[in-house]
Symmetry: C2
Subunit: 310 residues, 2 copies
DNA sequence: CGTCATCACAGGCTGAGCCTATAGGAACTG
DNA sequence: CAGTTCCTATAGGCTCAGCCTGTGATGACG
């Protein structure tokens, strides 16, 4: 049984004539005749009696008709459902966004998407950058925006879109007088977020590279998971921290009103990039998310103009 | 979009691998690959991301899946529905049966069918023999059992299965002393049924032929539609009638207890026959009805053994 | 870094599906 | 009742979808 046979069957049933059915469907009469014959053969029962002028449905055909209509309706449903997803009217848009990027643009990005495509579901995936790159590599995620320490990763294409300065935050104005050097940093009492992923956290990687020149390893007094907790602890004067400037601007007034920030010396930057599988053909949904996320991020952090893609 | 593509899609979706899907479906891997590719092309959206080892469903695929399952389930439904009709478990059996034949065997025949095939619907079609032959010719009826005056009819195959004597019934014992001749018949006061179809009613055609030899036309005093009314009128002594012996045996005790019957001279017989379109391949349902109806009729009327079909 | 698993691609074969042309039967018509 | 019309079935031929096998590319894994 094929969809084509069912379509021919319904046309013949409604027209009461194979010739008329063929006309309606845009085929030659023998073609429809053959389809009906094959359908009858596969069902093992005649569907029409051939009576000189036209055909007459058997009771089997009477019974088959609603089933055939249901099948074809289900096919229509399937097609229109997919079509509406292709037009981004319905369906799910899944996008990876981790840590600082989500902090900057997460909620606003979702709002942007929903405003432009009211029918869609949005999933913003990612608890940390390794998870995100993993999901990308496994194919569960199509694209993501994350903070990346390096611009090379096996099998992935990384397109930097913005960078954000790393700043030293403290509750003690004394320590904010002038930019913090590697030496001073290595002597500071620090609280750092992302403890579980400390090995791959981009801010820590950058700090490790910076301190490497002084021959020291970065030491942290306190380890927490989320940036918010770290900022709160800074506000309580228990430690200082290094976070991105965007996060500082956003979180300090609320969580540590007495604290301030100062640049590092030399200035360090965290890079926010779009990441996807190498040579992937991106879906309209992914392209939309990339476009909107880039716009949002570049409104907050310092844009990096994309080099012309090769 | 084809059913085949949907089957391949579902297998690939569930297996997470085109190779495994191909194994499950019994195809080579490139065949399934091609089906998926064609489906993606016709939908205008990728369904899977190819990620080295296996494939991963996109959100479009997630959404397509329930639709695909619904389509295939509807197809299964259609097939099993038709199958159950072919096995005479469900569906409608339509059979033509007119006048005297229905009077003899109608209810019992339906009971027979329902006993053997509890799930089916039964339609016993036919108010008169012309209607029945018309429906046969137009193809709306597949087969019928009717009383036929002649054994030839354009485009139809007529197989006699039983004959029934025509008897003269009367409330007056005097008129039942000896067989009724054409002459006496032509002088009788008659009530006859089937008035609307008097021109094609088989009993009347037989009587016309019988009277033709005497040079007379049959005259009826009273015209009614149904045999029961005619018998009742005979019971009231208002007229005599000619009906089949089977009808007389069945109806006289109930509707005209004082009346009796006597043969015609020469004896006349009405023929009950199975009729269907010439060269028709009969469905199992029609064959069943023919078999059961024949058995019922032959239990009541005098069987005519079928000549060996050529 | 070699091996294995998986997918894509190429080439070739078969048959489904489409067409046109034609024959045959049923129904309508003058 | 013969001619016309309408419809279906059949035959023959063409094209392409769909299947296969074989092979190459690529990512995963030990």
């Amino acid at each position: 049984m094929t969809l084509h046979q069912l379509r021919c069957f319904l046309a013949a049933y409604e027209e009461g004539s194979l010739t008329a059915a063929a006309d309606r469907l845009g085929y030659a009469q023998p073609s429809v005749s053959e389809q009906i014959r094959n359908l009858e053969k596969s069902l093992g029962a005649p569907l029409f009696r051939r009576v000189g002028r036209g055909v007459v449905a058997t009771t089997v055909a009477d019974d088959l008709r609603p089933h055939a209509e249901r099948v074809l309706a289900a096919v229509e449903d399937a097609q229109s459902s997919v079509a509406s997803q292709v037009r981004l009217e319905t369906g799910t848009i899944r996008f990876g966004m981790f840590g600082i990027a989500r902090l900057y643009a997460g909620a606003d990005l979702v709002a942007d998407v929903l405003r432009r495509h009211p029918g869609v579901r949005v999933e913003l995936i990612g608890t940390n950058s390794t998870e995100v790159t993993d999901e990308l590599r496994r194919g569960r995620l199509e694209a993501a925006m994350i903070a990346v320490p390096q611009l090379e990763s096996e099998g992935l294409t990384i397109t930097p879109v913005a960078r954000d300065e790393l700043v030293y935050i403290s509750n003690d104005p004394e320590r904010l007088r002038q930019p913090v050097t590697a030496r001073r940093l290595s002597e500071a009492t620090l609280v750092m977020p992302e403890t579980t992923f400390r090995a791959v956290d981009s801010v820590r990687i950058i700090l490790r590279q910076m301190l490497h020149e002084t021959g020291r390893n970065p030491q942290t007094r306190i380890e927490v998971e989320d940036v918010e907790s770290a900022v709160e602890l800074v506000g309580m004067g228990l430690a200082d921290a290094v976070i991105t400037k965007g996060a500082a601007v956003q979180l300090l007034p609320r969580l540590a009103p007495d604290a301030g920030w100062v640049s590092l010396r030399p200035a360090q930057h965290d890079t926010l990039a779009i990441v996807h599988r190498r040579d992937a053909i991106l879906s309209p949904a992914a392209q939309l998310m990339i476009e909107l996320a880039t716009a949002r991020i570049q409104a907050i952090a310092e844009p990096i103009r994309a080099p012309r893609p090769r």
